[in-house]
């Protein structure tokens, strides 16, 4: 028994317009592609500012001095606290800075001083550790002021 209906041929989709747009899109992306993922770390020229003499809290004035052997943190002006760490003490540094941040939540600036012979990669690694803990949205001291060596 043959059916009375004719078998319909499957309709073919016209893919030409979508292919055109995909090609244009790919061309645009290829032109603007940057295969090296680059980001920035901001720093500004060190500047001085006047602070009122009578203040309840000792200003933090966090300074980190980087040498090839160790990292030294100095916090406070009236009764400064100095702590030294080795380059491998990542967890201890994080603990120390988190504690400082808890005591000075409004402070976000850190001055970076490094020995002239310290490599730039080492400085960047320390800045990474002090700006924010890895994989966390919490920020510590994200404003970095690099010492320009001007006395």
């Amino acid at each position: 028994m043959k059916s009375g209906r004719k078998l319909k041929k499957p309709e073919k989709l016209n893919l030409v317009p979508i292919l055109d747009s995909v090609f244009i899109f790919i061309f645009f992306l290829l032109m603007s592609a940057q295969f090296l993922d680059v980001y920035e770390i901001g720093s500004s020229v060190p500047m001085t500012k006047e602070v009122p003499e009578k203040s309840d809290q000792d200003p933090l004035n966090l300074t980190v001095r980087i040498t090839k052997e160790e990292i030294e943190f100095k916090a406070g002006t009236r009764s400064p606290v100095t702590r030294k760490f080795s380059h491998e003490d990542r967890e201890k540094i994080l603990g120390f800075l988190s504690e400082l941040k808890k005591r000075h939540p409004k402070e976000s600036t850190m001055i970076v001083k490094a020995d002239p012979k310290v490599s730039f990669q080492t400085v960047i690694k320390i800045i990474d550790q002090t700006r924010a803990p890895a994989g966390s949205k919490e920020t510590l001291f994200e404003q970095v002021v690099m010492d320009t060596g001007n006395k």
Binding site: L15, L19, V22, F23, F25, I26, L29, L30, S32, A33, Q34, F35, L36, D37, V38, Y39, E40, I41, G42, S43, S44, V45, I66, A114, D115, P116, K117, V118, S119, F120, Q121, V123, I124, K125, I127, D128, R131, A132, A134, M146, D147, T148, G149, N150
Partner: protein, 156 residues
């Protein structure tokens, strides 16, 4: 004549299977979309320069680019300026930066650019000494640039 042509059979249009082509295009599209960077700074690294790895995720911005390779050769916007002396500053860099700054400020007055005239992008080799960084920062500050952006490579 007519007879000769009629001998040829009318060819049916050939169907090209474009499925595999579409597959490739889709993969390429996904790859390019993933590597797309919305930053307006296009960085062409000079030779002998490997930028440091960092966990920073701040997007770069368009500004003059100073690059210093591992041999202390200095480039401003990919044009060679000179070699950093063993001590002291590189005057040519300060002068060239001043020229760039003056040009940008003039463009800003004509409102053809909204670029921050205080900002300079600094690119150093990962093995560069901090002394090199300090001297380039000094030279840039002397030219009137007060905001430095250190360009780093994202590591995952």
């Amino acid at each position: 004549m007519k007879k000769r042509f009629s001998r040829h059979k009318k060819r049916e249009p050939v169907d090209v299977d474009i499925t595999s082509l579409l597959d490739i295009l889709t993969i390429l599209l996904v790859f390019l979309l993933k590597s797309y960077n919305a930053s307006d700074l296009k960085l062409d690294l000079v030779k002998n320069l490997e930028i440091p790895d960092s966990e920073a995720r701040a997007m770069t911005r368009f500004a003059p680019v100073v690059q210093v390779d591992r041999n202390s050769m200095v480039y401003l916007n990919n044009k060679e300026v000179g070699r950093l002396p063993a001590s002291g500053s590189l005057r040519a860099l300060t002068e060239k930066l001043k020229e760039v700054k003056a040009r940008t400020e003039a463009e800003q007055k004509l409102k053809t650019t909204s670029q921050n005239t205080e900002l300079v992008n600094l690119v150093f080799d990962r093995e560069s000494d901090y002394a090199v960084v300090q001297r380039v920062m000094n030279d840039s500050a002397l030219a009137g640039y007060s905001q430095f952006k250190f360009i780093v490579k994202g590591n995952y």
